[in-house]
Point group: D2
């Protein structure tokens, strides 16, 4: 018997292929699901079951696609809000066998109403009267390594669902200390704020060391959950809807067509309503050094975290990428969260682009000394714009900085003045570059990026102030 | 029977695996020669012979390494300057058979004294009395698609060797119009200035359309060759020496070790004599956007053309790369021309680097309008530095530009003044970025790069002037 | 500019990706056409055109599929029998440009009425008044290396079309000796009986050495073509029909599902009308050693040549393969000729199969000494069955052997007696193994295979006799 | 932090790459160790440490090779028998840190005197006063999933070392139920007879369910260990010696040279002392169907288990394989246990081989019905030879069968008579095929293989008898 995790970087989502040399199941498949078929083929087994821990809000489920490709059955938890169309509804205590592995369903609501966990056993062992026979648990978004799931998706029932999660965690822990934990997300996910950067754990270890599991009082647990703040990107709603009916497979070709410099320029010259959005997925410094005017910077690895804040499902895109493989990676990231309309990509080197007398832009990277000197100088017309999230802001800002979380920037632009010179910052300069590209697209002329940002500021020994102090 | 070309990009060198389903030979193997073994394995044949068209000056021969790995015999032409140690000397008319293919040696000196060509036949066919039985010829650096080999390697015998090449070309053409041409270089090689960007040709087509073969008079041909100018990078001498004794295999691991940001900084802090050279192999705009102070820019694909001008065989290097695969490609390029001492690489994102309060630099990219306005403004303290080659310069420069060929820049820096502001240009901005990095390393403070360079200048409708006009 | 051949083994079909670093065309794409997209991506170019040299009868065209995936236009020759639905009709002299390459259409009927050849030029060069500007020609099934196309597809017009081919070859040769030949088939194809085993040639070389081009008299050429015999597998008609309307893409998953031994047995137990055909694609000796009763042996590499004789388009199959990769290769071979209904495969080792007390069969391999002794013994009830083709048979058989060409065996079984003991032979034993499996499936009990067959017979110094002598 | 297991099939050995995004360690690297470097590169981390749980007797350690390639330090336990030359000796309680992971050494002798286990912690956590901080343990050959290590390597101290293992297991279990178990072997290893076929477990699960850990009395545990029987292949001694001094890297090329049929025959014709051993690594039925006379059958996947019984370290081999990739897999298996002298391989199809009038052999596969009928017939001159191991034999044999364990067959041949007809059997027919090849090589003429063997016999409802009953 084996358990093989498949990580989707950026989303920090973890799906699993589990089973033995004959039959296998997939837990929480992602949309680009050819990988499960390939892995099963390598192991010589057949995928017979697909299980979903819950209806994902942060990515598209590949279950309906994988079911069609393999003939496997799909199983999902009960939800008063409506059943997932492509799945059979399963309930507490339902048992499934594939190969030598047995899987038992636990209803573990809290993160969502339909949340399930799945305990696994050696075939026949879960029948036994003895306790502590489970050997692993797929805990979905209920329990993570070092954290528990967020419970802010039902604002009107927030106390209730936090309490439900508490109960669900009790139910999971009751499986025993010996159980290996297989959660649906790792560090970096938006589905849990403090997930540890460790790929392996057990219920025993979490029971002893997971901070949230140290709160042994239900009311205190609920209070702690209610005090949390999580960002909720606007694309979540779109995912929830698509995952109710089941999405289609992405186009067979993940690498979009190559677009020549001439065609690129022709597309860019279309009237605004028809003009595709140019998304530059190259690295931060490549964008700063030179980029196409009006292009939106989202470095490839940051697409999972930020594309859902800025892109619309019906938008058409053209990509600027360093290479076909980077374009493919970008398309894969986009497809996982439902953005399929990539018309093509250009890997045209900016020098060649510019040699055609085509226009380009640059954004200056400034260092801590420069920012310090500007800040000390007290220029009226200059501001620091800090685009970090609420938690980071709370830990201190540079005195005088304006703060708008990157995800909210497009709809809060009116808080800024195009007359001003903005130095954009975040923790390192990466999110700041995305923000700077948004400002430039919106007509802000004087924009630069504080490369190193709060990291450089602090490491240079400069002082920070509390956001409330001003 | 098959002929499979293997191209080494950048060097535009072409080696060949030829043979049939049983036995094969390799013509002019490059140093990282595992590819020949892999291709032979795919085809199910055994490499029994290795042939060299001449002792290469622009790359290291993999023949001694491949011979050791496969047990194949190595064959090289006679040279009064001394025989290649790892090879058997072959002569005009020598015949070799592998599988169904027969190969006959032609001595075709001119480019070098030891230059050979190899005609191939169906086994048994070269015995026949009839002419026009050859079906292909490996012409080394004697005959290319659209050009012929350079003849400037024996300055004191330049007329003689140009004449030798003329005679050698006659000998090759006598094989017949039906012969397919397999040269040792394609477009972009430094071994022939005007090689056509076409991967396939025949003696018939070249006889009719190759400009140099239209010169049907030996004296005129010699005169034409003597009027040519070719750059000769300083590493050529090193290659010639190594290819006489035979180089060692590169380290098994082409991807150098990953170096942490901390180790990187520690290495950079060593005394100058021990400090490794930091080579930034990322793209042009990534370097312009932000780079490590003192790092030399050589974008990965430009290593074959330019590393040999700036690096010394005994130098130790650390690389800045976007990814492990880019670092591996860079190491491969370096290994092919004898630079093995890569201590490691960092793919640390500049934002993370800067967040540690580590210093970084940027170089501004300027456009044609800016350059035009500066040129029109007539700033005393500002100059254009054009680093293109002699032929390109001859076709026109921006009025007032200083010209130093990029390869010669390190040793002609004294022609420039550190007090001045230089805008560096080439054809597109790529070579200019390398040049700008050299200037910055050498203490020039005010340096920017004309992105788009002469391409943007001309395409914007601006005038050029003859370099002699000033 | 480049020309990259893509060979489909077994069919010996050659398609081509041609073009430059920007744009490319595909000549005669096969059905599993993701390879063209992958190769174009590697080269960084876009596929803009697809050309077909004729409507193939031996494999499915991938043109309609590739056109949909890439947006490229498809071009096909004129045919009185009806136009190909997914293509634009092109005619003599039509010109196309992609990147730096120019392509001119030549109508070259004979093999089929719609046969075209395509001459390629450097862009602009085919306008020139001068002759001998073409640099390559895609000759389809008109001209091969060492042979010319078969002309037996219009039995009622056989003299006319042989004459048309003669004229077409004249037209092609008129392009000049310098032209590189790029045919649609290599050695081993059923589309030309004597294609040389050489992957490269020129019009000059073929003009001088191709046996068929040495016949310089039109009438003698026609006579020679009329004397030829070619096999025409029954699936050809199916291909012709599908290639008129355009086939669909094969299922995304080329590797069929793995079927457990139990399911395998269950499928085999279905009533004859619903029972899928078990095709054993393992090697010859693996089949002889042990196989599933009733399974048809077609070793994987022999599928292109023989599956079309024995399988029906609507048949459902299950495969026995050594490994998933062999099963995938088999499916790919089958898909190229229109057999898509593979339900799954089993790579179950026969020992494990047999350990379940499931039945298996073996066929004995006998050697030349055994056959000689039996032949000398003059057993009444024993016969040699020689399944080679007409040409091979004509070169001599073992005295007393019965001869039925393998392809015709299923419909000529009534010529054999189930009371007899048959030793099946061919040239080496491979085709004989297929034949033996057909006999066993049909109820013949006493069947063995002469391993080594005619090769071993002759190499052992035994005599052969002319088939007419008896 | 991550733990990535790397399995070596056949040996069922598990090595591990562990660490975080910066630094990593390898536990028990195998000899072909490029995989660790490749995996570390994918993760972007550097290998800084190598740990060995003990000096392996069943495979060669890759530690000295990997250390040279990466610069990592090697750490091994103390052993009175002499220290491993390429490693530093570590002791109970020694701590190591790489990235965010901390590793603590536990001395856990019993299986061998130098056996170590390694507990891992989040960096800094093992300093804490609290218990139950370990999160994983690398238990080497002390504790497996479902079994414990064998303790028969010091025959004169067998009680002592079984007791040592008991104590070591106590020490390991004291780390806590929450600890994930990472053993050095999985199911199928010769290092533990009853390892469960499950890739994952915890100390908690093993404490509760591992049969050997249910023996809570030290004396009873010792008694139980003393009652075990394990086979000890003769190559173990060779491994132990090589692993003391450190083996060399295998030749870079894992795929041996292709050998033509002619060369193959030439090698086979050498005098016995110089003649390489022909090892046929194809599948069972392929060997039965036809094979080279005198070749030893060891199907590729059975090499790890059986090559060490029949091959000598200084033997030279040629392989018969289905494909280059099978030959490579075979060479890799051989290299892992120290057999490097593979001269080449032939993938020549037996039909082609036989067509050259070269001799071949076959072995008949017989089924249960045939064996039953023979057994019932009571032929004096016929015997069943059962080559299964002691434990399997104890569970019942076919009445009248002679039993010799496959590994002992070469040295117990004199117990058999060449006058007799032997039907060889095992559990399924695979080991029987190896045995049959040994008999044939040794001059036994009448040999066939019971395909399905004991599995088929029992599944056909036939009776077995106890070996002692006769």
């Amino acid at each position: 018997m084996f358990v093989e995790p498949i990580k989707s970087p950026g989303l920090a989502q973890i799906s699993y292929l589990i089973g033995d040399a004959c039959e296998a199941a997939v837990i929480d498949p992602r949309r680009d699901c050819e990988i499960y078929i390939a892995l099963a083929r390598q192991r010589g087994c057949r995928i017979t079951h697909i299980f979903e821990t819950h209806r994902n809000e942060d990515l598209l489920s590949g279950a309906p696609i994988l079911a069609q490709l393999t003939g496997a059955s799909v199983h999902h938890g009960p939800d008063a809000a409506g059943d997932v169309r492509y799945a059979q509804t399963v309930r507490e205590g339902d048992d499934f066998t594939f190969g030598a592995m047995q899987l038992r369903v636990l209803e573990t609501p809290g993160h969502t109403d339909d949340s399930l966990s799945f305990a696994i056993y050696e075939r026949g062992q879960n029948e036994a009267g003895t306790a502590n026979r489970a050997i692993g648990v797929f805990s979905g978004d209920a329990l993570f390594v070092g954290d528990v799931g967020r419970t802010d998706f039902y604002p009107e029932r927030k106390e209730e669902v936090a309490g439900l999660l508490y109960d669900s965690l009790e139910k999971i822990l009751a499986l025993g200390d010996q159980v290996i934990l297989y959660p649906a997300h790792g560090a970096g996910s938006t589905c849990g704020g403090n997930i540890a950067d460790r790929d392996f754990s057990t219920l025993g270890y979490e029971r002893l060391h997971n901070p949230m599991l140290q709160i042994r009082d239900r009311e205190k647990f609920i209070a702690s959950k209610l005090a949390e703040h999580h960002e909720k990107p606007p694309y979540f709603r779109h995912m929830e809807q698509l995952n109710l009916v089941g999405c289609r497979a992405p186009a067979q070709e993940m690498t979009p067509a190559l677009i020549s410099a001439a065609d690129f320029q022709r597309l860019s010259a279309k009237p605004p309503a028809e003009k595709p959005l140019v998304v530059d997925v190259r690295g931060v410094t490549a964008y700063l050094g030179a980029h196409l005017p009006g292009s939106l910077a989202i470095p490839c690895g940051m697409i999972p975290a930020f594309a859902g804040w800025f892109l619309q499902p019906d938008d058409e895109f053209v990509l600027v990428a360093d290479s076909p493989s980077q374009a493919e990676a970008a398309c894969r990231h986009l497809a996982r969260i439902g953005f399929d309309r990539v018309l093509g990509f250009s890997d045209t080197a900016l020098p060649a682009w510019a040699a055609g007398a085509r226009p380009f832009d640059s954004i200056a990277a400034v260092d801590a000394a420069t920012v310090k000197s500007r800040a000390d100088g007290g220029h009226d017309n200059w501001r620091i714009l800090d685009v970090r999230g609420r938690k980071e802001i709370a830990q201190g800002i540079i005195a005088g900085a304006e703060t708008i979380f990157l995800g909210n920037l497009p709809k809060q632009l009116e808080q800024l003045s195009k007359e001003r010179h903005y130095t954009v910052m975040c923790a390192s300069g990466a999110r700041a570059t995305i923000a700077a590209s948004i400002l430039r697209r919106s007509g802000f002329q004087k924009v630069d990026v504080f490369l190193g940002s709060m990291g450089a500021w602090r490491n240079s020994g400069n002082a920070v102030t509390s956001p409330g102090d001003e």
